[in-house]
Symmetry: C2
Subunit: 308 residues, 2 copies
């Protein structure tokens, strides 16, 4: 690399914010045909250039989950691609905590009431104190979520691919040995990436193992949950409820039974809100520019073999 | 005290649970006329004995707030009275966190939707990361709440009578020097006891100082907030919203505007749910029996001069 700093293209550069973040790390912002790196700023693969100059050795994508970029054929083997995986972990974890608490404490029933239902509701309100919360796909979101759970007196059971202990978790279990977790957990939070292996990770069999008092929270991708199996579990009281920031299909179509289901909470994929997204992306880009300059491992390198 | 242990009456003793907790600490459960202490188990002062035998030197009440017991004339100067103040701090703090998160993340709007409103909602969803949360009346609830706020990247501003620093708070301010806190805080949680001094603690003047993006959470007592002034602030956009587990009047009457106000969340005084109440009371009684036996200061001693 030349002494004048990383030559990076920023596109589409709508407000100069990302370019400023790059310059803050000593990078030189240049047109794409002169660039060795590209910071792409919008999450729509359809707008991505169909061909990149050979000089571009590294592309930073703005999305945490990159399945749409694989599907569009954007990601190639000719250069390094990095996702924003983990960059948005804290706001998504906060949303997961909100959804879990709202479910356990029966907020939807309070909000639906137009009369003082204390006698009926108070015995049904639960607590996270003493609860065992399984986090399926324990990466950055889990690391951000666990301190909040611990502060409330809950224990986290982390499930990840390697089984390597997750800091703060009461227990970490490798995914291929985690079948017992579904029945042991008081609640389950889904935070795994979308891959061929995680499609319908939550289906009828695992829902049937879950406690009837358990809430299922999904802040990952809608396709990780089999929606029909979920509706069956909700209708039959197999689980206490589901709180979903992501759905399948997504957007959830008008008239879908989840919209009005008394045991379901749906938020429209807002776990990583506008307020936190831009700042988090800038921070991640700056960190990766530093790492690129120092020859260190980039964060969020996309692995075509595993699909994220 | 005799070697046979504290002679305590438990009334009304509906399920033997409280008596068992007392015996677990070596106390002898006896009829009221032989007792030196009384563990009263229900929160209704109307059922309390009109006169107590002189031999009863200590009464453990089951309520955290004892204003109703003062109003009923139950509490006298002839013996020591202890409330359950602080015993329910953890579940109430958990509810406060849930209400604050649900407000900041606009859950009521998601729950009211029957169509995918991502474009409209995502820019309006907030985060507690980086937020300054004032806790007015920073006692046990604040101590239980602060670790959760900190885990989410928020700072707590504690306001208490003494100004003595509250562990974990970024800043503690004495109540009589706290006027600036109302405008400095991103959100405000009310957790003070109900006394003559705290009646309408939140009125028009302080609501007007609050940020228009702020949520007000009340898990203390309804009368600490001037409901008319609150409705005015909600109607005029003076604050972003109010999340109330307690109301004035309470129960909130049918047809009250708070039931349907789009900026209000009402839960029917369920912050300390049945699931946590009994266990917390048993734990507190056991702790106070130990302290009584050891001649240590009891927890929650009621001070008639301050009213709690």
């Amino acid at each position: 690399m030349s002494r004048r700093g990383l030559r990076i293209a920023v596109a589409p550069d709508t407000d100069g914010r990302v370019a400023a973040a790059a310059r803050g790390e000593g990078a030189e912002v240049v047109p794409l045909d002169q660039a060795e790196a590209l910071a792409w700023t919008v999450s729509d693969p359809a707008r991505f250039p169909t061909e990149l100059p050979d000089g571009v050795r590294w592309v930073q994508l703005p999305s945490a989950g990159v399945e749409a970029w694989f599907a569009a054929g954007t990601i190639d083997a000719a250069r390094v691609w990095t996702s924003a995986a983990g960059a948005y972990a804290a706001p998504v974890a906060e949303h997961a905590l909100m959804l879990l608490l709202a479910g356990v404490r029966r907020l939807p029933e309070s909000l639906a009431a137009d009369t003082w239902r204390k006698t009926e509701l108070r015995p049904r309100v639960g607590t996270l104190a003493g609860a065992r919360v399984a986090i399926i796909g324990a990466g950055g979101i889990a690391r951000a979520l666990i301190p909040s759970l611990t502060a409330l007196g809950a224990d986290a059971i982390a499930v990840n691919r390697s089984g390597r202990p997750v800091p703060g978790a009461a227990r970490t279990v490798a995914a291929d040995a985690a079948e017992d977790v579904w029945s042991a957990a008081d609640h389950v939070v889904i935070a795994a990436p979308q891959t061929a292996q995680t499609h319908h990770l939550v289906g009828g069999r695992r829902l049937a193992r879950m406690k009837s008092t358990a809430w299922l929270v999904n802040v990952a991708r809608g396709t990780l949950v089999d929606t029909d199996a979920l509706l069956h579990a909700l209708d039959t009281g197999g689980i206490a409820g589901a709180a979903l920031d992501v759905t399948d299909p997504e957007p959830l179509p008008d008239g879908h039974p989840l919209w009005t289901h008394p045991r379901a909470i749906v938020t429209p994929h807002v776990a990583n809100p506008t307020a936190t997204l831009a700042a988090a992306l800038d921070t991640r880009l700056a960190e990766n520019i530093r790492r690129y300059r120092d020859g260190a491992a980039l964060l969020g390198v996309v692995d075509a073999a595993v699909g994220y």
